[in-house]
């Protein structure tokens, strides 16, 4: 299955012969993610930046068309997200943890400032979004489209909640580790269902993961609803869970813990980004995953098992998403309700994060930061009401996200054309098929 447009051998986009269906799971309704392998060749930061700028620009037009000042709106979002904190450079100091020693630092880490608070919240969201972004990105690298990040996230949240509200006599360390391991594992299993179905039956992972999203949604609604097993024990009419016990809460390191501070999950997310890069580029597993993602046929001829890699890649993806869920639960959420289940979007935003970030670790990190800033900057707690109503701002975020996705989808083509041009070298015997233009 050639993934470059313009074709190298004249046989373009033929549907697979019916005979091929019987033996090869990749021949059957091939994953659309395989074509997205082009991202891996589209190097550089320029295109994602242009895409993002364009999306913001279009969003600004909508804002302007409805009578608001786009410049003020974006400035408000910027301040609201706390990113302006990086621009207040001066002479401050920080205390080394565990001692009383002060060290000079050029940023104001005092937890009193508004900008610092906003930044903490943005970074909390960045933690989540980088992990849900990794969940989508890892699967893409194997040629699979994991839209199931939302469901896998929910499974992680709920499992983390269950463990966090049980075992009150466990010490802090083991309690947290237990929750993280089990929740990530459950997220992995949830995703592996789709991977297994694809490997065994050829079922398209987009469909199966979407179905699994909704199944998780309803399971969550049941568990946390009135009379549900995870509902709280003090108010039966409130479809919310118990609060996580203190021994399961993640330690915070910046900010006022009573007001939602930045928790160490932030570092775990950074670790996950590094692990993502390491697994893909420095391990045999990653080698196989990438080979299957780029060229399943060549991988098969090389002796690599496509089916096994589908399952493993989906499992690792689900693990990332589940991890996002449990870190959120133990880091700042502490409880969950049916309403939270039904309005949660963080798994879905991971799709835009991964695509804008070109399915690479550094890209995912930066694009997670961007979306987190956008998400928090437009939230009720932070946006200036006179500039734009928070409900409108929230919808603006959705629109910008959508525009990013639309433009990302289209700029793949532009990158692809550019790459294809470089590959049509003189001196090959067969005349190459023409590089087709649109229309």
């Amino acid at each position: 299955m050639s993934s470059e447009p313009g074709g190298g051998n004249g046989d373009l986009e033929q549907p697979p012969a019916p005979e091929a269906l019987a033996t090869d799971p990749t021949a059957y309704a091939p994953s659309v993610g395989e074509r997205l392998a082009i991202y891996q060749r589209a190097g550089g930061i320029v295109t994602p930046v242009i895409t993002a700028v364009f999306a913001f620009f279009m969003g600004g037009i909508v804002v302007a068309a409805t009578g608001h000042n786009p410049w003020k709106v974006y400035k408000g979002i910027f301040t609201g997200s706390g990113l302006n904190w990086f621009f207040h450079v001066g002479s401050y100091s920080i205390t080394i943890p565990g001692t009383n020693h002060h060290v000079w630092f050029w940023w104001n880490t005092s937890i009193q400032s508004n900008a610092a608070y906003n930044l903490q919240q943005t970074l909390i969201l960045t933690t989540t979004l980088s992990l849900t972004g990794l969940a989508v990105a890892f699967a893409f690298r194997c040629g699979l489209f994991n839209i199931g990040g939302q469901g896998q996230y929910l499974i992680g949240v709920i499992t983390g909640l269950w463990i966090g509200t049980s075992f009150p006599h466990l010490a802090r360390g083991p309690h947290i580790i237990l929750a993280i391991v089990v929740a990530s594992g459950c997220g992995a299993v949830w995703a592996a269902i789709a991977g297994f179905l694809k490997a065994a039956t050829g079922a398209h992972e987009v469909i199966t993961t979407i179905m699994l999203n909704w199944i998780a949604y309803w399971i969550g609604s049941y568990l946390l609803g009135q009379g549900g097993p995870l509902q709280n024990s003090f108010n039966p009419s409130l479809p919310v869970s118990n609060t996580v016990v203190n021994s399961a809460k993640l330690p915070v390191f910046w900010g006022n813990a009573a007001l939602q501070a930045l928790h160490i999950g932030f570092f775990i997310a950074i670790g996950a980004l590094i692990a993502f890069w390491f697994i893909l580029n420095r391990t045999t597993l990653g080698y196989e995953v990438r080979a299957v993602g780029f060229s399943p046929e060549a991988a098969r001829y090389g002796g690599i098992s496509i089916a096994r890699n589908y399952v493993v890649a989906m499992a690792i993806s689900g693990c990332f998403a589940g991890l996002a869920g449990v870190l959120d639960m133990l880091g700042y959420q502490y409880r969950f309700g049916v309403l939270d289940v039904q309005t949660s979007q963080l798994g879905f935003i991971g799709i835009a994060v991964a695509l804008l970030g070109r399915n690479k670790a550094i890209g995912v990190a930066l694009s997670a930061l961007l979306f987190a800033a956008l998400l928090y900057g437009t939230s009720t707690r932070s946006i200036d009401q006179t500039v734009l109503k928070p409900e409108l701002a929230g919808n603006l975020t959705l629109m910008i996200q959508a525009l990013v996705l639309l433009f990302v989808g289209a700029d793949v083509l532009i990158m692809g054309l550019w790459q294809a041009r470089r590959r049509l070298l003189p001196g090959r015997m067969k005349p190459s098929a023409p590089t087709a233009e649109a229309g």
Binding site: E13, I210, L212, W214, Y217, W218, Q226, L392, N395, L406
Partner: protein, 400 residues
């Protein structure tokens, strides 16, 4: 496939396929026995009918009719189990839950948006373009139907606005995935977010904190007083909304168009093998554009039914995943209109059932809402026979 050499075995003159169908029927009947209006209370009644169903199914499987045979076995086991369970439930609960008239009326109401979305999806998919954005197009239709009906004062104009808006949303998807050859899943997902954002934004902008006014012109019900007297048919079909009747019309028209007209043949050829269609002079681009736009318009009609036909107002994200259930119905129904409709009815029935079950079961009834997704998962995995999409579905076409 090689032709079978020996003729299939028969049982008392019934072919294995017929026996399997009989088994499915008996399995369902085993359950129905325990429900009103028959309400048999002795548990061995369902067993008496259900066990032969299992037997019929097994026989069919061993004679080679796997799909229907296993369905019969499943129906037999489920029917017996549920029937026995029902005989142990209180009569009043049974009467409440299994009140057929409200159940069937609700089933049609729930199935209508699903059907519109599914048929829209069928046109797009059969032309080779995956349309994940049905949910967004449905939501767009819901909002603009309300907006149109409110500002223009007339439900028909509201429908028209919905159709236009859905068509525009679909055109974006069409342009990005056909002309720019972007990934169709990404583009469809983008449309969902875009619709969510746009409808939410303008909903707040126009209607603010108070929401839509209570007096929006609604699509009327069709009251057929003639059939009121007929038991069961009368109450169920006598007061259905106009749009539900429109669903039936759309079903028939779409079946005829897709499978009995030249244009349908061409659409299907574009979806199976666009290069072949191109070489006989069919314009792949035009057909795909038309099909995708149509899918948006139909999905929007489904959404419009939701807002100005059923509920009477608009709320943010009011479609709440129905577009995806519609997509599921399409897949479950094997990309054919009547199959999709049957699936939509099944899903609509299970939703209606879940609301009724809330009384005796409480919270657990919510799990029933997940049934459509579980069933589709099974269908896609090929457990009940494989659902095969059009061969070229999802691949952009490159014209030389």
């Amino acid at each position: 496939m090689a032709a079978r050499a020996e003729p299939r075995p028969q049982w008392r003159g019934l072919s294995p396929t017929q026996t399997a169908s009989l088994g499915i029927f008996l399995g369902c009947f085993a359950f129905l026995l325990a429900l009103p209006p028959i309400t048999a209370r002795a548990p061995w009644w369902p067993a008496l009918v259900g066990i032969p169903a299992v037997g019929a199914g097994i026989w069919a499987v061993t004679s080679g009719v796997k799909r229907l045979g296993w369905l019969a076995v499943a129906a037999g086991i489920l029917g017996t189990a549920l029937g026995v369970l029902a005989t142990h439930t209180s009569s009043s609960n049974l009467d409440y839950v299994a009140s057929w008239t409200p159940l069937f009326t609700a089933m049609f109401a729930f199935a209508t948006p699903l059907t519109f979305a599914a048929i829209g999806g069928m046109f797009a998919e059969r032309s080779g373009v995956v349309n994940i954005g049905l949910e967004g197009m449905m939501l767009t239709g819901a909002f603009f139907a309300v907006l149109g009906a409110d500002k223009l004062g007339n439900w028909a104009l509201g429908l028209l606005c919905a159709v236009v808006a859905g068509g525009v949303a679909a055109l974006i998807h069409a342009f990005v995935s056909i002309h720019l050859r972007a990934d169709q899943i990404v583009s469809g997902t983008a449309i969902n977010f875009l619709a969510l954002g746009v409808t939410g934004y303008f909903f707040i902008q126009v209607y603010g904190d108070n929401g839509t006014p209570g007096s929006i012109p609604r699509v009327p019900d069709v009251n057929l007083s003639i059939i009121d007297g007929i038991p069961f048919i009368g109450p169920v079909f006598g007061h259905l909304n106009l749009m539900i009747w429109l669903t039936f019309v759309t079903l028939i028209v779409s079946y005829v168009v897709m499978f009995r007209t030249p244009i349908g043949l061409r659409i299907r050829s574009v979806g199976e093998h666009p290069r072949a269609a191109d070489t006989v002079g069919i314009s792949v681009y035009k057909i795909r554009y038309a099909a995708v736009t149509l899918s948006g318009m139909l999905a929007a009609l489904g959404g419009a039914y939701l807002s100005i036909g059923f509920v009477g107002s608009f709320n943010e994200n009011m479609t709440a995943g129905r577009g995806f259930i519609g997509l599921a119905a399409l897949i479950f129904g094997n990309w054919r209109p009547f199959g999709a409709f049957a699936a939509a009815l099944l899903f609509g029935f299970s939703t209606a059932l879940s609301f009724r079950l809330a009384q005796p079961w409480g919270n657990a009834a919510v799990l029933f809402q997940a049934l459509p997704y579980v069933l589709t998962l099974i269908a896609v995995a090929g457990v009940i026979g494989r659902s095969i999409p059009p061969a070229a579905s999802g691949r952009p076409y490159r014209k030389q």
